[in-house]
């Protein structure tokens, strides 16, 4: 069943139960249908439900993925919402649970709760220029939004993707990036923190790419995703480039446990990232990004 989500809003666990969606407390059983190895520690999985259809989701949302006997972890969708049948998730192995998810092979089963959380402001951005600013693994939660904007390309002005990562070997979704680069209706800039002489692209921090322009600041919506430090400085740089805080959206990440606003694990200032986010408007959280012990 499809639930339309307006930007920056989400539905709490209780509301989900009331509208007859999948019970947010009980994992559904899914099976891994395909695995792509992106790098030494990053994997993309396609997972399909063992019963029923996979629910609709909005770009920016996440699932809680449960590996039997290990535990549960929140991972954003990284696939195309318009492609039915499977959820796609891109996972970096950093701990016991994410490591277990990243180690799943085709045919393995796992539990899935979701979708949860707020969405990227795709409809709100119609009529404006769009800047996607991705850092490292942050390109993954942005990818569904990029797909959706490109699917309705005529509704938007200039579309710019700024992508920064550590080195050329860390560039995610290379083939996809090449495909997008060949399009004439999206400006794509990729930069790395450092490289060797075989790299012929840009080297430097991703905020340096903002100066390349290609968008009209008063009439732009920016969607930013990456490590918190990167998002903090990108937000500042976009602001300095003339975007107001209300025009900038970030995807916050915190350790999730219940994902439905009950346990408090993901608390960030006065917000719960699982229900007030993960996509949040910059003006609402900029003060908390600056707080030193949070």
């Amino acid at each position: 069943m499809s639930v339309a989500l307006s930007a920056g809003t989400s539905v709490s666990g209780q509301a989900w139960s009331r509208i007859g969606a999948i019970d947010p407390f009980v994992p559904q059983i899914y099976r891994v249908s395909r695995v792509w190895r992106e790098s030494s520690d990053i994997v993309t999985l396609a997972i399909v439900p063992t019963a029923g259809d996979r629910p609709e989701f909005a770009p920016g949302q996440f699932n809680m993925l449960y590996v039997f006997g290990v535990g549960e972890v929140a991972i954003s969708m990284s696939g195309d919402p318009a492609v039915p049948g499977s959820f796609v998730h891109t996972v970096r192995s950093v701990g016991a649970v994410s490591g277990a998810v990243a180690a799943l092979e085709a045919g393995a089963t796992l539990g899935v709760r979701g979708p949860f959380g707020s969405a990227w402001p795709i409809e709100l951005a119609e009529g404006s220029d769009v800047v996607f600013a991705a850092g490292g693994l942050g390109l993954a939660p942005l990818r569904p939004a990029i797909y959706q904007v490109l699917a309705r390309r005529e509704r938007y002005g200039r579309v710019v993707l700024l992508y920064g990562t550590r080195t050329p070997t860390d560039i995610l979704f290379r083939r996809e990036l090449e495909r997008w680069r060949r399009r004439l209706d999206i400006d794509l800039f990729v930069t790395v923190d450092h490289a060797d002489e075989t790299w012929h692209g840009d080297v430097g921090v991703v905020t340096k790419l903002i100066g390349r322009g290609g968008f009209d600041p008063p009439n732009t919506i920016a969607m930013v995703c990456g490590p918190e430090l990167m998002m903090r400085f990108t937000g500042t740089a976009l602001h300095a480039a003339g975007l107001r805080s209300e025009q900038i959206y970030l995807s916050m990440e915190r350790n999730m446990k219940c994902a439905i606003g009950l346990c408090g694990h993901c608390q960030f200032g006065p917000t719960f990232v699982c229900v007030d986010g993960p996509v949040m408007r910059y003006d609402r959280i900029v003060d908390f990004l600056a707080v030193r012990e949070i």
Partner: protein, 154 residues
Amino acid sequence: MEGLERIVLAHPFFAGLETELGPVVAGCARNIRVGPGQYLAHEGDSADEFFLIRQGRVALEILPPGRHAVVLSTESEGDIVGAYWLVPPYRWQCDARAVELTRAIGIDAKCLRAKCDSDHHLGYELMKRFLPLIVQRLDQTRLQMLDVYGSRPA
């Protein structure tokens, strides 16, 4: 000389500079063209000149002994390459290699410094442009150094 003046004044770095100062700056300038893979400067060279990129891309890199070059930054249209003329011992501390065909304005640092010392107005106008660029590069380079993406070394 006239053509060079025009080129100098057309570069984004000199945006807003009074036209009368064009010939003054051009007196320290030359137009250069560097093919892909060619070097504008090598580490250790005397830092007599810096470059305003008109078109193309230049990589600043350091070659650690026995290793591949580490490219630290690329500069393109509108950017400046080379701040080593400002810092004792006035030698390039990295290589500057054109990644693609690059057109640039080369400015003789000694010549320009002398003109700035005798004309404070020119000095002020140039410093006013340099400083924000260097400060911005410093802030940006610092972010690169922080290694925010955290992925494991390849």
